[in-house]
């Protein structure tokens, strides 16, 4: 039989991110990916960690205007994931250890993977 991946996802609040990640780091886990899923209301971020062959994820949802703390102080290797998510999804990740300032991907549009709908003030021109 094929061994299916055991899906362990712990839902947390964004404010608990750093303490939870610190606890995992102390227990020997390492970061193996950061994933973002965008919707009209905001973004869902999943931080996956590996220890031997086990994998578990921390997950939270953030509104577009909410800042997310970087975990690069705990896992410097997370800088690439965080830069990517900020470039493609527009998530406000603050204090990234190695900040590429939006230059990871040279894409034609701004935040191409974002589905966040922001209704802003009508422009002075009055039309599209």
């Amino acid at each position: 039989m094929t061994e299916k991946e055991v899906q362990v996802v712990d839902e947390i609040e964004v404010g608990r991110l750093l303490p939870e990640v610190d606890a995992l780091r102390s227990a020997g886990w390492r970061i193996i990916q950061v994933l973002c899923v965008s919707s009209a209301e905001g973004c869902e971020l999943s931080y996956s960690f590996g220890l031997a062959l086990a994998m578990k994820s921390l997950r939270f949802r953030v509104a577009p205007d909410v800042a997310v703390p970087s975990i690069t102080a705990l896992f410097p290797a997370a800088f690439l994931y965080e830069n990517e998510i900020r470039d493609l999804f527009g998530v406000r990740i603050e204090r990234i250890g190695a900040d590429w300032m939006g230059k990871v991907y040279d894409v034609a549009g701004d935040k191409p993977f974002s589905k966040v709908t922001v209704i802003g003030p009508r422009s002075e021109g009055g039309g599209v």
């Binding site: 061994e3 991946e5 899906q7 899923v37 062959l53 690439l80 190695a98 040279d106 894409v107």
Partner: protein
């Protein structure tokens, strides 16, 4: 008592302090002073695909590096929202031309996990056969590129000649030389006969003999050793901390191979994880070379024990609302797939964390302390795949 010369020096120092620091953020934060910055790539003779580094040099020694990707990002992940979930496997296969089958299979494994599908035994064993065939041809391609990088042209050509036989087997069994096209949700689309598989294993014998000879050259030739031994050393602890995967991690003495999870038929086929201890370019070369022979050995076991029966199960209807992670061991290391469904025929999200993406921080670490002339060799022994990274 201060002299006029002292006053002038103090003014100069203050002026230097006021002058705007135009170095990149990383250089300022890393306190890399007195360095030269040499751009490496995105176009470079050793790089088949675009990748850029700002190398910080003190004399000839690399003291830091800032990687830059994103030159050919294709947005394939986003395409999952516009394609039927069973058809998207063809897009997933085209993420990369070297590990195409495993990308297609990884997507299928994730979707099958979400659907709760079980692939028939013969389908699982055929997937294992093609995975190992792909690993062998990928490592042979790497061997050629690495030999080319340090100027060993005849080794480069001999490695690629052996690879050609491996690709012939892919064509005969799967139908495609680059894009195998045989992975489908629910199993595989091709069912080569047991006789065909046995004939293919015989056809691979000359390649295996050649590879043993080439391996001796790669691991024992004094000129190769001169370029690879003690170069680009990555310690076991740093490899783990920096998230390294695949041969990059195993060459630093860490026993980690996702095949041990037992996906496809790996749970039923005994094999040893290939591990080296020294963490240098030679160790990374040795891991890949030993894995080529291991792949052929696994293929032999697969062909010998191939179960009879169907190779796929039908997949109908809409996927349920849900999500699934799947992990495979690609030639370059662990790859993570994620799919999320909203109940329609188009998935809401597909994500691939490719091994090269995970190896970038470790690659930068391995460069630190090396000489400029060794940078191409270090990059090649990581075996970067930019197509995967720029999915």
């Amino acid at each position: 008592m201060s002299t006029r010369e002292d006053t002038r020096r103090e003014d100069t120092r203050r002026e230097d302090t006021r002058r705007e620091d135009t170095r990149p953020d990383h250089a300022r934060e890393s306190n890399i002073d007195g360095t030269s910055i040499i751009p490496f790539g995105p176009q470079h003779p050793v790089l088949p695909e675009p990748l850029h580094f700002d190398l910080f040099l003190r004399d000839e020694k690399v003291v830091g590096a800032i990687p830059q990707i994103g030159y050919i990002h294709r947005g394939l992940e986003l395409l999952v929202e516009k394609r039927d979930y069973t058809d998207y496997v063809h897009v997933a296969e085209r993420i990369c031309g070297i590990c195409s089958f495993m990308h297609g299979m990884g997507y299928c494994e994730a979707v099958e996990g979400m659907l709760g599908l079980s692939v028939p035994d013969r389908g699982r064993w055929l997937r294992t056969f093609w995975c190992e065939l792909e690993r062998a041809h990928s490592h042979l391609m790497w061997m050629g590129l690495a030999a080319d990088a340090f100027g060993f042209e005849s080794l480069f050509m001999a490695a690629w000649r052996a690879r050609e036989l491996v690709i012939d087997v892919a064509e005969e069994t799967a139908g495609g030389r680059v894009i195998f096209g045989s992975a489908i949700v629910g199993g595989v689309s091709r069912d080569p006969s047991d006789e065909t598989l046995a004939r293919c294993m015989k056809a691979l014998k000359p390649a295996r003999d050649d590879i043993r000879k080439l391996s001796r050259v790669m691991l024992q030739d004094s000129t190769v050793k001169h370029r690879l031994e003690g170069v680009g050393v990555l310690s076991r602890e740093r490899a783990y901390e920096l998230g390294a995967v695949g041969p990059m991690l195993r060459a630093s003495g860490y026993d980690y191979d996702v095949r041990r999870r037992g996906y496809a038929a790996y749970g039923e086929i005994p094999f040893e994880t290939v591990v080296e201890e020294s963490g240098d370019c030679m160790a990374r070369a040795a891991v890949r070379i030993r894995e080529i022979e291991q792949s052929f050995a696994i293929m032999e076991k697969v062909v010998a024990g191939m179960p009879a029966g169907p190779v796929s199960v039908p997949v109908k209807g809409m996927p349920p609302v849900g999500e699934c992670f799947a992990r495979l061991e690609q030639p370059r290391g662990e790859v993570i797939y994620y799919v999320k469904s909203n109940g329609s025929r188009n998935l809401e999200r597909f994500r691939v964390r490719t091994p090269t993406f995970a190896n970038v921080p470790a690659m930068v670490e391995a460069m630190r302390g090396s000489s400029l002339a060794d940078v191409p060799t270090i990059i090649l022994t990581i075996d970067p795949c930019i197509s995967c990274t720029e999915r």
